[in-house]
Symmetry: C2
């Protein structure tokens, strides 16, 4: 396979696992990473993404998106809003409408310019948050709109789509990505070492626990 | 009909016609306009959009998008690149990959927050530029991805999709939008009065000529 792949790299556990999945699938030297600076509350994610890309030896670019902050009213960009989990059928207040649609569309535009047609995203419909733009049917529809709208044949790879957190940890181990996990950021409260209390920390901890693998971020 | 509509308003002839189409269809007081400040070379478009919205008596918001300028390499945001028309089967160098996909996705996110499900865009597949994200099949696929990704039932209205420029001018007249046309901006060279030479000016002039209607922007 001579294709090159572009991985949307947030600096978290899932996208980092995807980066190593892409290296395994497409080969060293044929993978690039793209991070979005969209005004996330925890700037440490951007530093982590850069360190992870360097650790993995891949080209890395960061694109700004100032629009989400201007849209406002959500907890991931607005430091005045407390993070809460999903309650009942409501979307959690970390929901940014269409965030992954935007990320993947800009990633496709970036890839378009670079002659890359394979895009990799760490979205998972098993994710506890239930973001509707993480589901495979959404990704399929987006893939079609990108292909029609940019006249390319992109493939949107979502290797974690149906994996539990336990299985994602096991995949990371299989791919030799565990060392890189020490560089990732997960905590919704922006703590390093992680707070261990927020939903994101707990989800991560449970995944490592169930896989019977020590989290390098904790044990480091 | 009690729905409200959001019109993507660039400040040009087509989106202004759509604004009046929406006022006719949804009623005064039930239409809002959204403009994107994406680093366009001619800032005058943003002023025009504001004036048009004021003239039409609709709420108007402007959202920034700094990502296209960061993506670079295209003539609509990069003042170092000359504008050229499409040659043969090539896309014109004003092509920003996925620009309308991004505009409509952010418009949907904005509408989502405001409880609006009817979006209106002036895209037309008869447009000489041949942007693939202006075609109805792309819009249909995008509509599906937005509806799945944001769990709403958006309708993407494209009233100009199959109209020639002549027919768009006639529609503007029928809708009482001709006075507002004096406030629009079309010229790719950013001139007011328009240069009359660039492809956009010529397309506009031909439309008014074929419709047998004086362009208020020229005759003003």
């Amino acid at each position: 396979m001579t294709n090159r792949a572009l991985v949307v790299l947030s600096g978290g556990q899932d996208s980092t696992t995807c980066l190593y999945w892409a290296l395994d699938r497409f080969g060293a030297g044929r993978v690039e990473a793209l991070t979005f600076d969209y005004g996330q509350r925890h700037r440490i994610e951007l530093d982590c993404a850069g360190q992870i890309a360097k650790h993995a030896g891949v080209l890395h670019a960061t694109l700004p998106i100032d629009t989400f902050a201007a849209l406002g009213g959500n907890a991931l960009t607005d430091s005045g809003i407390a993070v809460e989990g999903a309650t009942g059928n409501d979307l959690p207040n970390t929901f940014v409408p269409g965030r992954n649609l935007i990320f993947l569309t800009f990633a496709a535009a970036f890839a378009w310019q670079r002659g890359i047609v394979d895009l990799v995203s760490g979205v998972a419909q098993t994710d506890y948050s239930g973001y509707p733009d993480c589901r495979r049917d959404t990704i399929d529809a987006l893939e079609q709109s990108l292909n029609l709208g940019m006249e390319r044949t992109f493939t949107l790879h979502t290797p974690l789509m149906n994996l539990s957190k336990k299985e994602t940890v096991e995949l990371a181990q299989d791919l030799g990505a565990l060392n890189a996990m020490a560089l990732t950021h997960t905590c919704y409260n922006g703590k390093r070492p992680p707070c261990g209390q927020c939903p994101a920390c707990q989800l991560r901890a449970n995944g490592f626990l169930e896989a019977g693998i020590a989290d390098p971020l904790i044990s480091a």
